[in-house]
Symmetry: C2
Subunit: 227 residues, 2 copies
């Protein structure tokens, strides 16, 4: 797979959270410069240090406030809780101009996180509308558990479903899925993110019923050469 | 897995269509008495005969009008096009009383069938509301392609996602998934069917982009013993 942008630096906003940490860890291992973005600079730096200790000491991973992280990056990944999604993105809006934003947000509404809550469309469409067309938003990584991402010693038995209206954004997500050791699948327009966001609730329902830590999904029926 | 009802006869409404035929074929092979329901008696009978010819000549598979099929069955499977879903179910309502109805409907809206169209909730919730609480509706089988179901010589590399509010209905779908040679997963309440219905559009998007006939999905991360 080719990407139409050259990715050097990835900002992970919400990189101090579990999902963001897991993604940051894998991308840093793959050789990208990763900037952990957070609301608290000390916590962001501490997270960067903790992750570096799991990797080669020379791994390029740093901490910054969310806005600074976005400004430094070619690609920005939004991995904050649903309740903070819009606010965080709008706060760093000036650092997103002309760039690709990968939204990992799952619209879970506690306490019933095992029930898909999608009133009026997907969370990512709302985000794209708020940011405007100068930011190319792509939806991806919602279904990959932080539990698996953190475990560098095992292959992850879960695919990445990617929804985007922008081709460059979609290809960026495909590249970063592969860099994280995952298979990315282009699943149609941003509107289809309604399904991938909601799917996380179904996986949580499966976790609870079958008493497992983190069920995942795989796409079947596509020969390896067709990717 | 246990089932809380003893299933002997399954009616497949829309059993003359591709998806219905495929399911009927597999359940007949598994030993259930299958009644192909249709709007046209001759066509229903012809379909039953065609399917029987693929199996043992003594296989119990017959054709009937939709209402008669429903009346004869312990479990009714609704496999008609989205546009006919509500009308068909209401026409046979008297044959559904106290029974389990498995809804296979995918709310595809041509021509953009690769875009999830879910205005205001899932198709199956609308169906349950129209039928009332005396019919236990369960959503299942939306993501298994007719292409695979018709091919009895190969194992199907696709799972069945099951959403239900009623435990007996959910267990019935689990049993019939297994009878069709598939793994069924209980994925939470009927409301989560929004996701499984929409997922078919994502699989169609994958079929088109990667040029394959019928992509599917698998649930991962659950050891065999946990089912």
């Amino acid at each position: 797979m080719h990407s139409s942008i050259r990715i050097k630096t990835i900002a992970v906003l919400g990189g101090t959270g579990r999902e963001g940490r897991g993604l940051a860890l894998r991308w840093a291992r793959a050789g990208y410069h990763v900037v952990i973005g957070g609301r608290d600079l000390v916590r962001a730096e501490t997270t960067a240090t903790t992750l570096r200790e799991k990797l080669d000491p020379m791994t390029r991973i740093s901490g910054a406030l969310n806005l600074s992280a976005a400004q430094q990056a070619d690609v920005i990944v939004l991995a904050v809780p649903f309740a903070a999604q819009l606010e965080t993105a709008l706060q760093v809006r000036s650092g997103l101009e002309g760039k690709v934003l990968i939204d990992v947000t799952v619209p879970l509404v506690p306490p019933k996180v095992e029930v898909a809550q999608l009133p009026g469309g997907s969370a990512v469409e709302r985000l794209q509308a708020a940011l405007g067309p100068e930011v190319a938003v792509v939806s991806a990584f919602q279904n990959v558990s932080a539990h698996h991402l953190a475990d560098l010693d095992h292959a992850i038995d879960c695919d990445v479903l990617i929804c985007a209206d922008d081709d460059r954004a979609a290809q960026t997500a495909v590249e970063l899925a592969e860099a994280a050791g995952l298979q990315g699948w282009r699943c149609g327009p941003l509107k289809n993110s309604l399904v991938t966001e909601g799917l996380t609730s179904l996986l949580i329902a499966i976790n609870r019923r079958y008493k497992v830590p983190s069920a995942g999904i795989r796409i079947t029926g596509v020969p390896t050469g067709a990717h």
